[in-house]
């Protein structure tokens, strides 16, 4: 039997289609995907911590490894590579050879600013916020837009104080 990921991939496609109908432009859809991803991320982190029993990461490098080798592998069945570290060690790239969200997907012509997988950015941002890290996450390469690989850039912004509540958006 085929892997369950098809259900996820197809459902994600249906969601993006619905959003494109509901919103006038790609920028709005991208924002909405990020927001929804964030809402998922803030809950997914608990699921992740429960399943993986990973302790607190010592630094951003360790965080990167956990994201790539544990989280992505666990949930999406793929392990991106961690590369392109900034000299300060506060920024890195995740390179996905294959992005399960985009199986069988082709962007129609009038959506060339759509960041199809933008949900992932929100998920990462939301999840890390729950472990006291404020990060910036964005796509810099996308196979759907003709690039060879899919590249997500993650930048550490700052540590979040523990007693500040993080709200849903």
């Amino acid at each position: 039997m085929r892997k369950n990921s098809e259900l996820f991939t197809l459902t994600y496609g249906a969601l993006v289609t619905q959003l494109c109908k509901d919103y006038e432009n790609d920028e709005e859809v991208n924002k909405q995907l990020d927001k929804m991803g964030y809402n998922i991320g803030v809950r997914l982190i608990e699921d992740f911590l429960a399943r993986s029993s990973i302790g607190r990461c010592q630094d951003f490098r360790e965080t990167a490894d956990v994201i790539a080798k544990v989280a992505f592998k666990m949930y999406l069945g793929t392990t991106p590579s961690v590369t392109n570290w900034s000299p300060a060690g506060d920024e890195f790239s995740l390179i996905l050879e294959n992005n399960p969200l985009v199986d069988f997907v082709e962007l129609p012509d009038n959506h060339n600013t759509l960041i199809y997988s933008n949900l992932l950015c929100g998920v990462l941002r939301g999840a890390l916020e729950m472990v006291q890290m404020a990060v910036d996450v964005r796509f810099v390469q996308d196979t759907l837009r003709g690039d060879n690989v899919t590249e997500i850039r993650m930048k550490f912004i700052k540590r979040i104080e523990e007693n500040l509540p993080a709200g849903d958006e």
């Binding site: 039997m1 369950n4 098809e6 996820f8 197809l10 459902t11 619905q18 998922i40 666990m74 949930y75």
Partner: protein, 158 residues
């Protein structure tokens, strides 16, 4: 299992999104259910298409329903339908005693009024799957005690 989590989280968020994007939740409830059901329909079609690419033709309607109960349900929910009943006149009742998408909601009668929203997508999934197998249907669901629920399939003669 971890690989079920992405879909479950996405499904939940989908429901939140569809529910939020209406001004008047009371009157829009039916429309939201329909939107979710329609999304499930398209996904169901796509899933069945991939699942049955290399399968032989089904013998009859009952064969199709058994496929839904065993293979399709296992592919989607990692378990089979627990009980299938039919009146042999085009009505089938599929019982799932521990429906995955409800188990996080509650056990028992709490949040019963929310259940329809959590079942709509799956009703569409079944209807879409059947549609791609050449069977036109109406699919509804009911819950009395979570997380058990029943999906009712009414075959429409084309």
């Amino acid at each position: 299992m971890a690989d079920e989590a992405p879909f479950q989280f996405l499904h939940n968020e989908l429901i939140q999104y569809i529910s939020k994007s209406t001004e008047n939740p009371e009157t829009e409830h039916g429309r939201n259910i329909t939107k979710l059901e329609n999304m499930g329909f398209r996904v169901g079609q796509g899933l069945i298409e991939r699942m049955t690419k290399d399968t032989a033709r089904f013998k009859d309607e009952l064969d199709v329903m058994k496929f839904i109960c065993k293979d399709f349900w296992t592919c989607v929910f990692k378990k089979q339908i627990d009980n299938l009943r039919t009146n042999h006149q085009g009505i089938y009742v599929l019982q799932d005693n521990k429906f995955r998408l409800l188990s996080q909601l509650s056990a028992g009668k709490q949040y019963l009024e929310l259940a329809p929203k959590y079942l709509a997508f799956t009703c569409g999934l079944v209807r879409g799957g059947l549609s791609n197998l050449g069977v036109k249907s109406i699919v509804t669901a009911e819950v009395s005690i979570m997380p058990a629920c029943k999906f009712q399939v009414m075959i429409q003669k084309m």
